[in-house]
Amino acid sequence: MPEVGFAWYLGAYARVAGAVIHLADPTLRVSGADLVGRTSLTIAKNCDAMDVNLLLIAAMIAFPAPWKRRLVGIVASVGLLSVVNVLRIVTLYQINIHAPRAFEFIHAEVFPLAMVALAVGAFGLWSRWSRQAELAPGETPAHAEA
């Protein structure tokens, strides 16, 4: 993605997260990818969970399933991860205010693991749903005996 487009994309993330944070912190201002209020956060590269999204999309494309089910899975999973990622940013903002010493551990270790676990769970549920949807017509006794 070109730099300008990427900056706009990170800025959009910051504006969405800022809108949620603004409910609890009216002093918050969003400037580009920076959130400045009672504390400050910058939405940087990799703060957008793009790596997790890309790995999840790759796994869904590699899994044997019709394209329609893949698209459903990709749209639903990326949407879910994006919502959770916004909540992650909001939570990190609050942690930076109330427990700054825990910020680094939670930012660098807890949330990345949680995002990957969520992506794995989403893939597991989707793959199970996809296989069941595929096998359901062929699991009738007459067909299974053929």
Binding site: N46, D51, V52, L55, P64, A65, P66, F105, A108, E109, P112, L113, M115, V116, V120, G124, S127, R131, E134, L135, P137, G138, E139, H143, A144, A146
Partner: protein
């Protein structure tokens, strides 16, 4: 005929609408297993056990880092010697900085190890800090938690552990060898596209420290078989 074969045949006779689905069934039949068996079963008890082990191993216990430092340094130094990274500079990892310029005030933690050139004609460098937790410890701990918690026999667990750890140690060796080569070679060559790609995909992506053990575990699961599963 064993039950497994009847199931596989029934699945093979189910309509496979795309070439990828047909190929998946063929591959699974060739491996004498159904496609779903290429993915592990995930009973709630195993998932809970895995989460518990992961929390136990990844919690910020005091002293873990100091215990992990020496084996990390030994492994890193072995990689440097075997690969020949750093050339005449003979860089080595140690748990303490070799010079006075890098003090613990520089943000070092229990998980920090230090890389410094020992000798040779290569460029002089101060000790470089390296955080080993997310790069080295976290993937190994997750691999251990995943392997120990799922319902397969202990013999298979040991085989899976061996395969998973071998794959993760290969990743760690790449993560050590590539930057050491670049930082300490007297005439560093421009990184090639393959090494750049490997570095970016396997090492640099933050999520890979958490995804790599999953990949290793899945590969180990798919590569091993066990007749009877324990619960």
């Amino acid at each position: 005929m064993p039950k497994r074969d009847r199931g596989a045949r029934a699945r093979a006779s189910a309509p496979a609408s795309t070439w990828r689905q047909r190929r998946a069934v063929e591959v699974a039949l060739a491996a004498d297993r159904a496609p779903l068996e290429l993915l592990p079963r995930l009973p709630p008890r195993s998932i809970a056990l895995c989460l518990g082990l992961a929390i136990l191993l990844l919690a910020p216990w005091p002293g873990y880092g100091r215990l992990f430092g020496p084996p990390f340094c030994a492994f890193g130094n072995a990689v440097i010697v075997v690969v020949g990274a750093g050339g005449d500079s003979a860089p080595r990892f140690s748990t303490r900085p070799r010079d006075s310029t890098a003090t613990p005030d520089a943000g070092a933690t229990d998980w920090t190890v230090w890389l410094a050139a020992r000798s040779g004609d290569g460029p002089s460098r101060p000790s470089l800090p390296l955080e080993t937790r997310i790069l080295g410890y976290t993937p190994l701990a997750l691999s251990l938690a995943l392997t120990l918690s799922f319902a397969v026999s202990w013999r298979r667990k040991l085989r899976m552990l061996g395969i998973g750890l071998a794959l993760l140690l290969m990743r760690l060796a790449i993560a050590i060898a590539l930057p050491v080569s670049r930082a300490f070679s007297p005439h560093p060559a421009a990184p090639g596209p393959v090494s750049e790609l490997v570095w970016y995909v396997l090492i640099d992506l933050p999520a890979m420290s958490y995804v790599a053990p999953l990949f290793g575990w899945w590969i180990a699961f798919a590569a091993t078989r066990d007749g009877s599963a324990e619960s």
